[in-house]
């Protein structure tokens, strides 16, 4: 079998998934309980998958590192979820969502997968409503919609500013319902630290019990990773503190290709950093750009003034000026670069960090005047409260300050049409795979993708794999299992006993974050990337020499957890820079300064770079494989949002 083949169905786009479904093998209900599936991660993708596989009758074991599956980082998604219901009768369709996603991704995603995603989007809303997800509604009782960045239709469903929370609780409850069934088990406070490979197939995982520090092996017929994204490589990001790459990175080191690691999204509307000891950044939902107007002072002398004292004619509504058609709703990458550009030119506002003001205004005065305070509070109340509790400023009275921050990773484990990685029997869903978003993800599309993967795609493709493969029995005494266990124990020993322990995991994480943010953040440049690769290599050597973990390993030890995650981020950080260096073009969120137009627009190179860059682990240097992207249905165009 060729492990690096997308296995896309052929023929008309509209019938590919249906045709493929028919070709997949099934397992009869009485035989399902003989098959065991391990699901790592119980965010939207993982929880929805466990619920669906569990009710179908498979044996499912799931794991998460939080103290409850209800706390996965999907809980933090604010803005909404897209679906092609066309309830607003504004011309939406499966084809349009497909087109918007491909275009939004700057023509670096696979057509068949994206079309399937658009096709499945409506079912997700039906499923969530049936579970009791309290989406926003009109007075008539019908579901309400809003619009989101990068589109001209209103197709986003939302539950105030807590859409991710409500969708995750729906999936968590569906998963919980299965846990009464003996076939389905779940372990919280458990971290996957290695993938077990037997006969070149994924057959289990090694897990550390985060309370007792116990290391144990878990075997199964196949493994699915739904472990989320790796924005925390940048140290400061909008992700939860525990988000990590460890599961996907272990898989990479066992042979799963890592695709487009440099495709990371910087979100334009986050609360600017205020000091050096900050531990994370907070997102202000993109939905705010529907009604808020973004501006900066025209004159840099005005930057430290009270915004109320800056006259209307002295305000530069720069997104409206630069991109009149989409204005404040320009896609994320474009909006982020515009904000950075304005601040770099000395028009930023807010407190100075390292001599620069990193912030622009997001102003709601016009909409408050138009709709009144109450209507605005109804729509954005919880976001405004959150802003106020973090900054101590009242956005009803004074404009918010925002600045871009790392937020989402389009890159991830390479998967084929069945969402299987290049390792047989290893699947990846949700943000953990390299997914359907190409070089840039549109707002409200990650929740959709995670749930499409978990409820509708993986249950079918995993079953097909189980039906088709003949697997040998593997138990805890298998030499491969014993070896994997030893590998993990050795690594923990190394972390606990560095030759000259000196610096905390936080110290290294901050250093790495700074290197990546400078060299591999909003804009990238060859010389800087090369330098960063060198710096990260040095940091890595330094880390293993000087990492200091106090306490003991057979205990709840958060310092040890962090050390292991940072070690993996350091290695991933290097690959991110290598990927960014390899890609000599700008596309989507990947902005190489050498390939930007005068006005800062990405200059894509379809002739040489219309491929997915999938990296294979090699002990010396990673090896690049290219999946050529063939656009059969959509003609790649210049992504123009003017």
């Amino acid at each position: 079998m060729n492990i690096f083949c997308a296995n896309e169905p052929t023929g008309p786009l509209e019938s590919r998934w249906e045709k493929h479904l028919f070709s997949l093998s099934l397992i009869s209900p009485q035989n399902r309980k003989k098959h065991k599936v391990i699901v790592v991660g119980t965010g939207l993708a993982g929880a929805s998958l466990c619920a669906t596989l569990g009710e179908a009758g498979y044996q499912v074991s799931s794991f998460c590192f939080q103290d409850s599956p209800r706390r996965a980082h999907s809980i933090a998604a604010q803005g909404g979820i897209n679906a092609t219901k066309n309830y607003q009768n504004d011309g939406d369709s499966v084809w349009r969502l497909f087109y918007d996603t491909i275009k939004g991704g700057d023509f670096r995603a696979r057509e068949s997968n994206v079309y399937r995603l658009a096709e499945l989007s409506g079912n997700i809303i039906d499923q969530a409503v049936a579970q009791g997800v309290p989406f926003a509604r009109e007075y008539s009782g019908y579901l309400a919609n809003r619009s989101f960045g990068g589109t001209q239709v209103s197709r986003t469903f939302y539950a105030r500013g807590q859409t991710g929370q409500q969708l995750l609780l729906g999936a968590y409850q569906a998963h919980s319902r299965q846990l009464a069934n003996d076939n389905v088990t779940h372990q919280s406070r458990s971290e996957m630290l290695e993938l077990i490979m037997v006969d070149n197939k994924a057959r289990g995982i090694i897990v550390r019990d985060l309370v007792s520090g116990e290391i144990s092996a878990h075997t199964a017929d196949c493994v699915v990773l739904c472990t989320g994204g790796y924005s925390n490589a940048f140290y400061l990001s909008t992700n939860a503190k525990g988000c990590n790459t460890s599961a996907t990175w272990r898989a990479y080191k066992q042979g799963a290709y890592f695709a487009n690691p440099s495709f990371t999204q910087i979100h334009p509307t986050c609360i600017p950093p205020t000091g050096e000891n900050q531990s994370k950044l907070t997102l202000m939902s993109e939905s705010l750009r529907n009604d808020g107007r973004i501006w900066a002072p025209k004159n840099s002398e005005d930057c430290d003034k009270n915004p109320a004292d800056i006259k209307e004619e002295d305000r530069d509504y720069f997104l409206e000026r630069m991109y009149p058609a989409f204005a404040n709703l320009a896609p994320r990458d474009i909006a982020s670069r515009a904000v950075k550009h304005i601040c770099d030119k000395g028009h930023g506002v807010g407190s100075k960090i390292h001599g620069k003001r990193l912030g622009v205004y997001l102003d709601f005065s016009a909409i408050i005047e138009k709709l009144g305070l109450e209507a605005v509070a109804e729509k954005y109340g919880n976001l405004f409260d959150m802003y106020q509790s973090i900054t101590g400023e009242d956005p009803y009275q004074t404009p918010m300050k925002i600045y871009p921050a790392p937020h989402y990773t389009m890159g991830g484990l390479w998967v084929d049409y069945d969402l299987m990685t290049t390792v047989e029997g290893l699947f990846a869903g949700g943000e953990a795979n390299f997914s359907d978003h190409g070089a840039n993800r549109l707002g409200a599309s990650a929740l959709m993708q995670g749930l499409a993967d978990g409820y509708f795609v993986l249950p079918k493709t995993v079953a097909n794999y189980l039906a088709k493969s003949s697997l040998t029995d593997v138990d805890d005494t298998h030499p491969q299992v014993v070896q994997s266990l030893q590998l993990v124990k050795d690594r923990i020993h190394q972390l606990m006993h560095a030759p000259s322990p000196k610096y905390s995991p936080e110290y290294y994480h901050q250093k790495l974050g700074k290197i990546l943010w400078e060299a591999c953040g909003m804009s990238r440049e060859a010389e800087q990337l090369k330098q960063a690769i060198g710096e990260i290599a040095e940091l890595e050597a330094h880390f293993w020499q000087n990492i200091k973990v106090t306490g003991v390993d057979k205990d709840l030890n958060q310092t040890l957890e962090r050390a292991g995650r940072v070690a993996d981020f350091i290695e991933l950080g290097k690959l991110m820079c290598q990927d960014a260096l390899m890609r000599e073009e700008s596309c989507g969120a990947h902005a190489r300064v050498e390939y930007l137009s005068e006005s800062g627009e990405a200059k894509r190179d379809d002739h040489d770079f219309s491929f997915v860059g999938a990296w294979e682990f090699k002990p010396e240097q990673p090896m690049l494989h290219k999946e050529q992207l063939n656009y059969e249905f959509i003609e790649p165009t210049v992504r123009n949002y003017k």
Partner: protein
């Protein structure tokens, strides 16, 4: 800013814990409460000591992981706020702060400030859902729901499962948490069909997990970071046929 911190340290559930006093100086007023503890932990690492363990993840008030009792109040004395959303500018300089874990029989301490809240998961597993199969849902707009009910259901569904209501309750009752889920699902037609069975199962599970019962102290409502109101308890009592 400078603070004197009295922090509960406990090696594990079998060993008696105690307060240990630490001094922390030069804290910027925009530092969050948990970032202050991060800085303290960095100091402990520098002194070769085991770090103070506390739960957190999102640090934006939505995951429900953070759980500290500060000067006697779960999530501090600021209204409708989680621990991670507290900032040092809300405290007076040079004050003493007493920091403890949630205390309840059904939330045993794991270590230091971390407790085991898996009893909440068990309560949801006992019935806190609508029994719908994946793929069998009808078209979403086939079921109209009046906006008021949808909004009210949302208000109950916004519970983050943190357990502050239990921590503050003299009976260590989980009634507010249970009532919020029962109310959320009962207010919607999808959840109506199973409502009685659900409510009874969840209530029984709460009792068997070792939570106490409600005797109307109403402290829970005051500390709840999401403003879940005790009217949810009235609704639950109705569903259970107690009123």
């Amino acid at each position: 800013m400078n603070f004197t911190l009295h922090i509960w340290r406990q090696k594990n559930s079998n060993i008696q814990g105690e307060f240990v006093t630490y001094q922390i100086d030069n804290i910027d007023e925009n530092t969050s409460f948990l970032e202050m503890l991060d800085q303290l932990n960095e100091q402990l690492i520098a002194q070769d000591q085991d770090c103070i363990v506390f739960d957190y993840d999102c640090r934006e008030g939505i995951c429900g992981a953070c759980s500290l009792v500060i000067n006697g109040y779960p999530h501090g004395d600021k209204k409708a706020t989680t621990t991670c959303q507290l900032y040092m500018r809300d405290y007076k300089n040079q004050t003493e702060l007493w920091i403890e874990p949630w205390r309840a029989k059904a939330f045993p301490v794991i270590k230091d400030l971390t407790v085991d809240r898996s009893s909440f998961d068990s309560i949801i597993q006992s019935g806190g859902y609508v029994s719908v199969h994946t793929g069998s849902a009808p078209e979403a707009n086939a079921l109209l729901i009046d906006k008021h009910s949808a909004d009210e259901a949302f208000n109950s569904a916004t519970c983050i499962g943190c357990g502050a209501c239990v921590a503050v309750c003299p009976n260590a009752s989980a009634t507010l948490f249970v009532a919020a889920k029962i109310t959320h699902l009962s207010l919607l037609p999808q959840g109506k069909i199973e409502e009685q069975d659900r409510a009874q199962k969840m209530f029984n599970q709460m009792e068997s997990e070792g939570f106490g019962s409600c005797s109307n102290h109403r402290y829970c409502e005051r500390v709840c970071p999401k403003g879940i109101s005790v009217s949810n308890i009235t609704k639950m009592n109705q569903v259970l046929g107690w009123t």
